[in-house]
């Protein structure tokens, strides 16, 4: 099996003489390959570029696109774009957070769900909208979002 560290090493070997301006592309590639940025990954990237780990961590946490926990089996993307906002996506997000007991960027302890807040996902006609593993759920309310999540849970228990 190819370990996560091997993946990181492979990515870094393609950026042999990279300087600090390659930091973000490298982090993106690592996340693409590993699903998230582990502590190990941040340390390795920092060492490779000759940057302090704190600086790399600072840059990575600045951007919403980077996550620091592995994705859950169901990855939920809640849209907080303008149209969804107008249609009440703040309440939807709140309801999901409460149902799962996680903050945006986190993964539930059982590893089932991870929550991500995204800007516009281009489905404004369906607002407010969320996307679970590529499946879109339209015109949500606090209650319907909760029901949808519970359905995924049930589906998991059955299988």
């Amino acid at each position: 099996m190819v370990s996560m560290n091997d993946n990181i090493d492979a990515i870094l070997s393609q950026h042999r003489d990279a300087k600090r301006d390659s930091l973000i592309p490298i982090l993106q590639e690592v996340q693409e390959s590993c699903g998230f940025l582990s502590r190990e990954a941040v340390l390795k990237v920092a060492k490779h570029l000759g940057l302090p780990a704190g600086k790399v961590y600072g840059v990575a946490t600045f951007y919403n696109q980077f996550r620091f926990q592995p994705q859950g089996k169901f990855h939920i993307q809640v849209c907080r774009g303008t149209a969804c906002h107008v249609k009440g996506s703040a309440a939807v997000l709140e309801s999901i957070k409460r149902t799962l007991n996680v903050e945006a960027g986190q993964t539930t302890r059982d590893g089932l769900f991870s929550l991500e807040v995204v800007a516009c996902i281009g489905a404004c006609g369906l607002a407010p909208v969320m996307c679970v593993n590529g499946e879109f759920h339209a015109q949500l309310s606090s209650d319907s979002a909760k029901d949808i999540i519970n359905n995924y849970k049930k589906q998991e228990v059955k299988s």
């Binding site: 502590r39 704190g54 790399v56 961590y57 600072g58 600045f62």
Partner: protein, 576 residues
């Protein structure tokens, strides 16, 4: 460059140099413009907007720290518009700031509080969500309280641009921004070297020293403890400032009296063990030169520097002297020689040291500094903490008659005292190394090239038949550059003194807050004056050092010395 420009400020003409910033010109003309993120000698960031001024012809207010002067510029520094802007900035900073000034260690010594006061903030116009950050007290030296942080970035910059450590940085974004170590972990597992320069530049109580006052107060009232104290060379020339006296006033005698009235049984002078350090370190240098040991040799008195090498340059550890620092040497001989002499059980002695330094708090807890589980030094207080306990006990320095330190560790040479300033250890060591190699004293004790506040001082000194290349660096970014040169093969330097803090201990992380470079200069001059005026100027002519070797230690680098006064350092894992 000459003053070639005229600018008009508040209706008066002042002179300026082309290329400088508006703020620099204003400060020279003694026009007070408040700043928060500005740091002398570093590039401006223009982040805080406290220094804004009105410039005729400009639509917006401009940040004076980051704006170049131009001939004929017309500036208003305190117009109603400017004041309103500054006041709004402070009000916004206060919106999510904790309201616990009365309980804050920086009460009455806080830049944010002072600005709010001077700008007349009397009501809460904005209320923000308070941050719920936990206090990080994982480090033995520094406490981090992000709730009080106003994100000025001075700590981040000093850590990166002065010390070359970068243990902390901005993390997250917007209103969620926090200054902290990587992975939001404790400072104790970060690369932090505990130097406390971040504390020195923090405008609020977000960064402060880990205080051990409670432990010291408890020991002082415990009848089963024999509480002794030592004070570092740089403390006596600085403490005065905490009590409103002129910078550079030496209060060694009255401070000794004050320490006695606090209840310390014996008051020892760390400058004595600075002399002892010199005996050991100069011997080590001579030994390395004669026997082809690893050169250049680095000094090891500054615990921030030692941790820095362990983390960032573990391959160079063999170059670091094996001598413990003067604080630890004092601790070690108090609990051995002194305890034996006085018939006190070492475990009953509570050994306190007063240091200009936060890293010393870390140093005394290092496992290498324990002897059979008993620490050489039990608690370290900074100059600031000493001032705090003196105020608490109503002890007025000015009201006391000067007293001398206690034997057998109270008499020092002026060489030992020089440890307080950058270059001092080097001067002291060269005086004794010269005697050890040639059997004669140096013609001139003072080595001008090694004096002053320069960050890197390099010189070549004739010691009998040898010409020694010596370097003195302070501020670890300077040390980093020199280490890289040596790694790359530089060979003309044999002995290097490194002080973690720029300027040495007189500008250490435990010194009074809110002082400036002029004060540091005065402290340095005070040390030089002591060296000029007193008769015993070399460590090897200190009679009490001779006696200590005769009665107890034997000889420098001997068996006893090895056991008590030397140690070894190893590669350290940290998040770097």
């Amino acid at each position: 460059m000459t003053m070639n420009l005229n600018i008009e400020v508040n209706g008066k003409t002042i002179q300026a140099k082309s290329g400088e910033t508006v703020l620099t010109a204003l400060r020279r003309a003694a026009i007070q413009v408040p700043t928060l993120c500005y740091m002398e000698d570093l590039l401006p960031t223009g982040a805080c907007r406290m220094c804004v001024v009105e410039v005729e012809g400009q639509r917006n207010l401009i940040p004076s720290c980051a704006y170049p002067v131009a001939d004929g510029m017309k500036i208003k520094t305190h117009s109603p518009r400017v004041i309103r802007a500054r006041k709004t900035v402070v009000e916004l900073l206060l919106a999510n700031h904790p309201d616990d000034c009365l309980y804050c260690v920086r009460n009455r010594n806080c830049e944010l509080q002072k600005l709010a006061e001077s700008l007349g903030v009397r009501e809460r116009r904005y209320t923000g969500e308070k941050s719920e950050h936990k206090i990080d007290s994982s480090s033995p030296s520094i406490v981090r309280d992000p709730a009080k942080c106003i994100l000025c970035g001075r700590c981040v910059r000093v850590c990166e641009e002065v010390q070359g450590v970068s243990a902390i940085d901005f993390t997250k974004r917007g209103s969620k921004t926090v200054v902290g170590p990587a992975f939001n972990e404790g400072l104790n597992v970060s690369s932090c070297i505990n130097c406390g320069q971040c504390v020195m530049v923090c405008p609020t109580g977000a960064l402060r020293e880990q205080s051990y006052l409670k432990e010291v107060i408890n020991a002082l009232k415990d009848p089963n403890k024999y509480v002794v104290v030592q004070h570092a060379p740089a403390v006596s020339v600085t403490l005065a400032e905490e009590f409103g006296l002129k910078p550079g006033t030496d209060v060694c005698g009255t401070m000794t009296a004050a320490l006695r009235s606090l209840g310390f049984k014996r008051v020892f002078d760390t400058s004595f063990t600075a002399d002892l350090t010199i005996m050991e370190e100069a011997s080590e240098l001579v030994h390395r030169i004669k026997n082809g040991g690893k050169l250049p040799m680095f000094t090891s008195c500054s615990p921030g520097w030692v941790k820095f090498v362990e983390e960032f340059y573990p391959d160079m550890l063999e170059h670091v002297s094996s001598c413990k620092s003067p604080q630890q040497m004092m601790g070690a001989i108090i609990k051995s020689y002194f305890a034996q002499k006085e018939g006190i059980e070492p475990g009953k002695i509570f050994s306190v040291s007063i240091m200009p330094c936060t890293a010393k708090k870390f140093e005394c807890q290092r496992p290498e500094m324990l002897d059979n589980g008993i620490p050489d030094v039990d608690a370290v207080l900074t100059t600031r903490e000493l001032a705090r306990i003196l105020r608490m006990r109503g002890i007025e320095l000015g009201a006391l008659a000067p007293e001398g330190a206690d034997t057998p560790f109270g008499e020092r040479s002026t060489a030992g005292k020089l440890f307080g300033a950058t270059g001092g250890v080097m001067e002291a060591a060269l005086r004794t190394a010269h005697f050890m190699i040639t059997g004669q004293e140096m013609d001139s004790m003072k080595i001008q090239a090694l004096r002053g506040l320069g960050g890197t001082k390099i010189s070549h000194v004739k010691v009998g038949p040898l010409e020694l290349g010596v370097a003195v660096v302070s501020g670890l970014l300077n040390a980093r550059k020199l280490l890289d040169d040596i790694r790359a093969g530089r060979k003309d330097i044999h002995f290097i003194e490194v002080m973690t803090c720029p300027g040495g201990c007189i500008a250490g992380g435990g010194q009074p807050l809110g002082t400036n470079l002029d004060a540091v200069r005065s402290r340095m001059q005070a040390l030089y004056k002591i060296d000029r005026e007193e008769p015993v100027r070399t460590s090897h002519t200190n009679k009490w050092i001779e006696r200590l070797y005769k009665e107890f230690l034997g000889e420098p680098l001997g068996h006893k010395s090895h056991e008590l006064l030397h140690t070894h350092y190893a590669k350290r894992e940290a998040v770097i």
